[in-house]
Symmetry: C2
């Protein structure tokens, strides 16, 4: 008996929705499901995946397509999906289930494998789930006696799952974990400060996962050295692989003249705070124009002076109209690195995290008072700087 390609065998992708969606009130759930379907369709269109139908039944989505193997991993990256399985659809007639189970095992069970059969049923049928498991198990052992299969219910090499749903049944062996979260667009847009570091793209992704479409805002520090900008754009490109169907634009603002003015007129220890305060002011104006509802940054707690708590407070003070969200505030550096690897932005980040930390000044934590900041800002023409920054704003479509 030859091995078929599962690609040709399977004809359906079962798409399971995140548990959080199922427990919402009816009205919210419907909204979220509709949003998720539209995001899934955008992915199918983007990758030119041919499909026959996409139906919502029993709290799941069923995608009829012959390209199940290539489609499933792409759908696993859609926020709001908890898992996907390439599957073979058949009727709920026991003889059909047996036939298709034998067929599925034929192309997926390797010689010497231990296996289990699991069955779940929704609807009224002439058989129980147990009947199905027993009969399928028996037939598999008969049909593939030359493969020396063994039954192992506790810790099998491979599991053949059968889901009977009223007049239909689905047979599959793989459950690919999805990214989870809420469907993108379920929450309002947010403006995300994006630079070329490890953290800020992770912060973007964390709020995307909670349903917020992002408007990445990058501040270009010099007009000569484009390395940080290039890294930010590359990170944005990777992030947009998770937001298919949504705009892929990055807002870029020139920050070099702001920095120069700060350097000329203000004490060195205030440079970072003053720079961040201008960024927040610009971010608020972008948020207002674009009807976004918050500002997101990649800050986390660590010893670096510019991220110390009292400095964050001085920064927040400049954002008068929108909340500043720091989704990484409770994460370890190693957790942030792991997320960056999962997202795909780690390779792209500057690899000198360790080096950089080691070369920070030995006693950099200086206490800064709001009064000092306000005095320094009085020496600058903040309104003009913010206006000039906004004028320099360009939108790059990726």
């Amino acid at each position: 008996m030859g091995f078929n390609q599962p690609q040709q065998l399977f004809d359906t992708v079962i798409i399971r929705l995140g548990g959080e969606i199922g427990i919402k009130a009816a009205w919210t759930r419907k909204l979220y499901e509709r949003r998720l379907i539209s995001n899934v369709k955008a992915v199918l269109k983007h990758y030119a995946i041919l499909y026959e139908s996409l139906n919502r039944r029993f709290g799941r989505l069923y995608l009829k397509t012959s390209q199940t193997q290539s489609t499933a991993p792409k759908l696993a990256k859609v926020f709001g999906i908890s898992s996907v399985s390439p599957a073979l659809e058949t009727t709920s007639k026991l003889s059909d289930i047996l036939d298709k189970s034998v067929q599925t095992a034929g192309s997926t069970f390797k010689k010497g494998s231990s296996f289990a059969v699991r069955c779940r049923r929704v609807g009224r049928h002439a058989y129980t789930s147990q009947d199905v498991c027993r009969e399928v198990g028996r037939q598999l052992l008969n049909a593939y006696s030359e493969r020396k299969l063994r039954v192992n219910l506790k810790n099998p090499d491979v599991t053949l799952s059968i889901e009977v749903r009223e007049e239909k049944a689905y047979i599959f062996t793989d459950v690919i974990k999805g990214v989870g979260g809420l469907p993108l667009g379920a929450q309002p847009k947010v403006v995300c400060l994006l630079n070329g570091d490890i953290s800020s793209p992770v912060a973007c992704w964390m709020v995307m996962k909670r349903g917020c479409p992002i408007l990445p805002l990058h501040f270009e520090e010099t007009s000569f050295n484009k390395e940080s900008t290039n890294r930010a754009l590359k990170a944005a490109k990777t992030l947009f692989e998770w937001t298919i169907g949504f705009p892929t634009k990055v807002y870029i603002v020139s920050h070099s003249s702001n920095l120069a003015q700060i350097e000329q007129n203000c004490p060195k220890k205030l440079k970072h705070v003053l720079s961040k305060r201008i960024m927040y002011r610009v971010a608020e104006l972008v948020a207002e124009t674009e009807h976004a509802e918050g500002i997101v940054t990649g800050d986390s707690f660590n010893e670096q002076a510019e991220k110390a708590l009292h400095v964050l407070s001085l920064q927040d003070e400049a954002a008068k109209h929108f909340p500043v969200h720091r989704p990484l505030i409770g994460l370890d550096a190693t957790e942030i690195d792991d997320l960056a690897r999962k997202i795909g932005t780690f390779e792209n980040s500057p690899m000198q995290r360790i080096k950089k930390r080691k070369t920070t000044p030995k006693k950099s934590l200086k206490i800064i008072k709001l009064k000092e900041v306000e005095e320094a800002e009085a020496r600058l023409n903040i309104d003009e700087m913010v206006e000039a920054s906004l004028k320099s704003l360009r939108i790059k479509y990726l």
Copy 2:
């Protein structure tokens, strides 16, 4: 050959510091290490663990104690520790290493086990790490031939690890994962709004893990129904198991009269925002008095009207002097549940998360404008309410 209790065999706990500590600049690292040592000592004292010495060598801590098995899991809960191993100390003489390895395997290797020997060396010795592995492996097979041990370097049932450190050597079989993060006290204190739900204790723990000691602040909603207060206190008690050596007090404020006044004078849809704004104002005053540097809440993004982004912004607007941190903002409900289980506060939480969600009003998301909030607050005597709340403040020592 009889099995000794490893408890009696081992005489040292190897304490490995989180990777984040090692990469800090020298000055910060020293500060963090000192803080960690003092936190470890507090745990030893709290649990009345007898020990001979606690030394820092080669970027690790070595605790000499006969109570290794009971001590190790307690130290694994200390923030800043990445892992611990009960170990047997000996000299770096090869004959000693061989003897003690045979002794360790004697009380830890079960019949039929596959095993591997690993060795790492720091310092100059007459042998290589490979020599040690080879010779130890040979001797174990000889000494315990009746146990039918097998060597398996790839995927062994048990690993005997040998760390040679200059004139000493440590032999161990277990590596217990620690909680990681930064040592508590490495960052400033924060005021944490703590109620009886699942999320707020998790938010507390996330910032604790980043080094911030917490000041839990609980708002009592009614003076009759103490259930929520009891749950908050129980959660605080569990949290304090992670903060041994730090104060175990909870700040409790009566909020019922505030709620009554809001209900009497303001539109219903503003109730939550107005209530939260008073909480933030009180929290700011507590933070100021206690020299804390931020406010922490358990908010995360989801559809619930009172946590919608624009509402968070209206809440933040009331906190004028301190940043509001929401460490759960990027987490899924399931991730928050998993963390609560790990922390030990899950069982204590109201178990109606699902039920509660299902019964939220169907269309609860109402847009609220800052102007409405300000108008409503003008009808209240906010300053007086905040002052009365502060007067009602009592501190409970757990």
